[in-house]
């Protein structure tokens, strides 16, 4: 067993904090400890990856932050308020494992869904749709329907949708999990570029060690049964990261530490 992670001091620019967070699902096979005593602070502008095997609670943690699951114990704050208040203030954009675009709307129409719900004016909607589509390099596809696009393009459109209303926090739950390696590399690069230009705080769930190391400023390693944090790694990589950085000793060193953390959690 590893030493328990000491709860980190709250800094002035903490965006997401969790203290002694617990979540137990009651199932027919008895209680399942999805999250046990999770303590974590995510600061403004951080790119935080959550990595671990299935059932380690990484997705559950993100869903608690998004107020899609209710914790059974402990405290979570988002922008200093409860997840529910943060959700109602539209503090975050959420990207799911699948793009989940509405097939009866065009790509532009899909991005307008949150904007319409949030009551932006028509002119503002059109403006924002154009802007976020440029951001994810889909400006030629505004009038296309989702089923006319490839999986990678659909996922980019769903990222554009999450960006459209300018939330400071972006929560991404294995957004590239279903895509092939080449598309994934490309989207990782684009995501870093986007993070650089927008300065958003990003929470990113992944299965992939290289992806976590390449993208993150902070890597949270988790382990299952009960779901808990086994290691938090502060990346020493610079913020500017070309794809080749993955061949540097520094990168390999961090990846090694992540792998060690995962192995420990399994033992």
């Amino acid at each position: 067993m590893t030493d328990p992670i000491p709860s980190q001091p709250e800094t002035a620019d903490a965006v997401i904090t969790a203290s002694d967070l617990n979540l137990t699902f009651q199932t027919n096979d008895g209680p399942v400890h999805a999250l046990k005593d999770v303590n974590l602070t995510i600061n403004k502008g951080d790119f935080v990856s959550f990595i671990g095997p299935s059932g380690c609670g990484k997705t559950t943690f993100l869903r608690v932050v998004a107020d899609l699951e209710q914790p059974t114990g402990g405290q979570v704050t988002v922008n200093g308020v409860s997840p529910e208040e943060a959700r109602k203030a539209r503090a975050y954009g959420y990207v799911f494992q699948a793009a989940g675009l509405l097939p009866w709307r065009t790509i532009g129409g899909n991005i307008r869904v949150p904007l319409e719900i949030m009551g932006y004016s028509k002119a503002e909607q059109a403006d924002r749709v154009r802007r976020v589509l440029e951001l994810v390099h889909l400006d030629q596809f505004e009038k296309k329907f989702p089923w006319q696009l490839s999986g990678g393009m659909q996922q980019r459109a769903s990222i554009a949708r999450a960006l459209s209303f300018d939330a400071d926090i972006l929560l991404m739950d294995e957004p590239f999990g279903a895509l092939d390696e080449i598309v994934r590399d490309h989207l990782n690069e684009q995501l870093l570029e986007l993070w650089g230009t927008t300065g958003k705080t990003i929470g990113f769930v992944t299965h992939s060690i290289p992806e976590a190391v390449y993208l993150s400023t902070k890597i949270v390693v988790m382990s299952p049964r009960p779901g808990r944090i086994t290691d938090v790694i502060e990346s020493t990589l610079p913020r500017e990261r070309p794809l080749e950085i993955r061949d540097t000793p520094e990168f390999i060193e961090i990846a090694h530490r992540v792998r060690e953390g995962l192995r420990e959690g399994h033992a």
């Binding site: 539209r90 869904v113 719900i117």
Partner: protein
């Protein structure tokens, strides 16, 4: 004998013509072939009925049915207005409309879901031959009682389909709406109703044929001296089978047109559904 021979010759000739047209990929062959086939069928029917001297009570020749369609157009039209526009269509709109509204209520409340679905099922299970005379007692001889029978017939299929359609969204899409802090109505309009459309149209399509059948059969149990069901039951009594067949022809065409219209709307509104993409 001559009629039978002629019928067989025309059959063989038309068959050969169709084969010829298909082999040569003549323009408009997709429409021409079924039309030729249909005309051949009518001609063979005519020839056999005449050639074998079949009693018109058993099977009138198409020419007699055609004559009835032409000479009694005003009666057929009056019957159609009475049965379709007054009885079937108003019952269809009331029945499907109320089923839709109640489906929305059921969807919001598990209590109603447990209570109302069995009641809907119960009404659907009532035999129309028992229901129709009761409706005539309650709502009178005119079209109102027919509309009531139609309401009872179309209500349940529409209700079940709509309720199921409203549950057709994925959990992820509902979560997405939640992350936008969307209200119940915003979620309904933007996500759940569009997703339910293929189901709703299934209900609407099934209801078209039920409505027409219901309105026609209900007239057997009392009606003013017009209406398709009334005409069929009285003309049978007079052994005027050509008129019965004329009414059946009108009902068949009408039913197809009604179904086709709804299917056309469906195609336009659910173009995005995998079953409609071509």
């Amino acid at each position: 004998m001559m009629w039978i021979a002629l019928a067989l010759i025309v059959w063989a000739a038309a068959f050969a013509l169709n084969v010829f047209l298909v082999r040569n990929k003549a323009p408009g062959v997709g429409y021409l072939v079924p039309v030729i086939f249909g005309l051949t069928l009518l001609f063979v029917w005519e020839g056999f009925v005449r050639g074998f001297g079949i009693s018109p009570v058993l099977l009138p020749p198409p020419s007699a049915i055609g004559a009835a369609l032409v000479s009694k157009t005003h009666i057929l039209w009056e019957d159609l207005v009475q049965t379709f526009f007054k009885g079937a269509l108003s019952g269809y709109i009331i029945g499907c409309g109320s089923a839709f509204v109640i489906a929305l209520l059921i969807d919001r409340s598990p209590f109603l879901q447990r209570g109302l679905l069995p009641v809907g099922n119960f009404i659907a299970a009532l035999p129309i031959v028992g229901l129709a005379p009761i409706m005539v007692m309650w709502f009178g001889f005119d079209w109102q009682s027919k509309a009531a029978v139609v309401v009872a017939m179309v209500f349940f299929p529409m209700l079940v389909n709509t309720v199921q359609g409203l549950q057709a969204t994925e959990a992820m899409q509902r979560d997405l709406m939640r992350t936008y802090a969307a209200s119940y109505w915003q979620t309904l309009v933007n996500l759940r109703l569009p997703a339910a459309m293929p189901f709703i149209f299934n209900g609407l399509k099934i209801a078209t044929t039920l409505a027409l059948i219901g309105a026609i059969v209900a007239e057997f149990f009392g009606s003013p001296i017009k209406g398709m069901g009334f005409r069929i039951s009285t003309e049978v009594g007079k052994l005027a089978l050509d008129m019965v067949w004329a009414e059946i022809t009108v009902a068949a065409l009408l039913g197809s047109a009604f179904y086709g219209t709804v299917a056309l709307f469906e195609k336009r509104m659910t173009f995005w559904h995998p079953s409609q993409r071509h």
